[in-house]
Symmetry: C2
Subunit: 364 residues, 2 copies
């Protein structure tokens, strides 16, 4: 694997939309007991469900630590490939590479710097050195060269693109103190445009209420296809989420994308507030420096945190009446994909959801 000292824009590479064709998908196996209750066992079952669901549509590779390799291999179905990828936790959306492609069928990785969502300012655990190597390791596994930005912190979950020059993100995350506070908003725009080959960046203000990632966009908005987005929503004006979603809606309604299109916006309602139970809280090891999981804390539940696979959409179920409504809405938005719900409370308890634990490899 070569580390390329240029930029995707200069080399004619762009980041495709997640809805474009994939060759496969990566997932990292959960195990750290200070984030996943009961030593990760309940989460592992749900990760198996997600990997199984996606593998109906495309090749899934699960990366596990040496210690968990045999267990992961045992628990996962045959059709899922299991390889060793040692990491600090299991959020490959955020620590994995962002793949870019050109028109000649070549693929390369963009390997951003990763600092556990805020480094020493408000990061969620320490250290994060193994996570920061994951993008490189996946590029090696895929036999793809990479661009490495050692001085620019970005997580894949903080951006969504339409593949046609537009990126949507949040100020809450990209302008956070723990990431690139040495750079101005304009400088950050410049890096994104250069490394993802973009013309236009749409800035939302905030992500889902209480999202511990400093408001990753992938929990509040997803690109269905160019010109069409899905937005997390609530009609309950007493819920702090209402003001946040309304603010997003206002921005989106007044924006155009890189191609000059107005955006078609579809609302998907969040479930009722989901709180951590006493049992759930007590199942997590207390470790200094890792975000605690306290009884009664509200989780950042949103159906928007779904994965778009080749012929399917894999979305989280919360055991809420809104589950069915979300499924129907997704079926309307994706008439040519199969909509598959996976009960995902255990992923939510770890701080994210299905989109956060997946990373697509675009078809070259």
């Amino acid at each position: 694997m070569k580390t390329i000292d240029s930029s995707p824009k200069k080399d004619g590479f762009r980041m495709p939309g997640e809805f474009e064709k994939h060759t496969g998908c990566y997932i990292l196996w959960p195990e750290r007991p200070d984030n996943w209750r009961f030593g990760g066992k309940p989460a592992q079952k749900v990760f198996v469900d997600v990997a199984s669901a996606i593998s109906k549509f495309e090749q899934v590779t699960v990366g596990a630590s040496p210690e968990q390799y045999v267990n992961a291999r045992y628990m996962l179905p045959d059709e899922v490939r299991v390889v060793e990828i040692d990491s600090d936790d299991s959020w490959v959306r955020d620590c994995g590479p962002t793949f870019v492609k050109n028109d000649n069928g070549e693929l390369r990785g963009v390997d951003w710097s990763f600092n556990a969502w805020g480094g020493l300012v408000d990061g969620l655990y320490f250290p994060w050195d193994k996570d920061d190597q994951v993008a490189q390791k996946i590029c090696e596994l895929e036999n793809r060269d990479r661009y490495r930005l050692a001085d620019f912190v970005l997580e894949g979950g903080s951006i969504h693109v339409d593949g046609e020059g537009t990126l949507i993100t949040t100020e809450e995350c990209l302008l956070s103190e723990g990431r690139n506070s040495q750079l101005s908003k304009e400088q950050i725009e410049q890096v994104l445009k250069e490394y993802l080959n973009l013309e236009k960046i749409i800035w939302l203000k905030r992500g889902i209420y209480l999202d511990e990632t400093n408001g990753h966009v992938d929990n509040i908005l997803n690109y269905v296809r160019p010109g069409v987005v899905a937005l997390a929503w609530t009609d309950d004006q007493n819920d702090p989420q209402y003001e946040i979603s309304k603010e997003c809606l206002d921005i989106l309604e007044n924006e155009t994308d890189a191609k000059g299109r107005k955006l078609e916006i579809h609302k998907i309602h969040v479930p009722k507030p989901i709180l951590i139970t006493k049992e759930e809280s007590e199942g997590v090891d207390a470790v200094d420096g890792t975000l605690p999981r306290m009884e009664g804390d509200r989780l950042a539940a949103s159906y928007i945190n779904y994965y778009t696979a080749n012929g399917g959409v894999i979305f989280p179920l919360f055991g809420d009446p809104k589950d069915e409504e979300a499924k129907q809405k997704l079926a309307e938005l994706y008439p040519e994909r199969e909509i598959v719900g996976v009960p995902a409370r255990e992923i939510l308890l770890g701080g994210g959801n299905i989109h956060c634990i997946t990373q697509q490899v675009p078809k070259a």
Copy 2:
């Protein structure tokens, strides 16, 4: 990856000769300080030389532990792929899969049981559980199904095949007490025939003098092509090696292969005896249960321990006058391959040589 409950013979798969086309080659990164002097640093340099030499001819993948991943990636050239494969040591010839193929371009792995060359009887270290997982891990990386023989111990270095129904091995190794002593010679033949799709097994008595693997065939004989073998030789009748090599020669001269051919036998002279120096011995951690490296011990040096790559032959140099003679002999035997010597004393100090640290993936 599926584990197949059948056999290669039943399914129409055979083990190709090493001289047939490859898609690539695996190597494991050395690091254990109780086998490699100075924390593995001198050996790592030589492994880089071997990987670099082979990568001129075919894709090389190096598997490293999580702890050594970054260092391995840094030391190896860009064109070598580096992935994580946690193991107990770095002899992928012996713990890796034996690939078999069929006529439809399909490839599968045979995953023998591995017990560190003799288990609790006379194995070289303890434990060996991670080594025993390497074959499976490489099958996963290659996305190939496997046959698993949990009850049959075999190392790849203990066999050579012509790809046309003949296998050559040694009684010293395959009939050793630490491997399959519950099985008769005939039962062992039966397993080999079933899992490598063979008709004929030629049994040599012993391997190279003092070879710690119980006389692996790959240090004393190699298949150049069907009907043609190279044999480690010495003319010094006072060297214990003479009697061993002469015994092999006598057997080979009186054998025919699966196709009924007499064998063409080419002698390649071993270098002068190579002994472990005081400095070399002192650089190795003393660990109970690991074979010690004592000053003055004779090493099992042989030019036969070479790797046959797509367009090349990578063979060990010992700084001996015989180096040049070996090169010339190999050039005669392989007129269409480039002959590349790599100074390999550091590998020899660890107990093997270039063939032992490599494992080819045949072209499907």
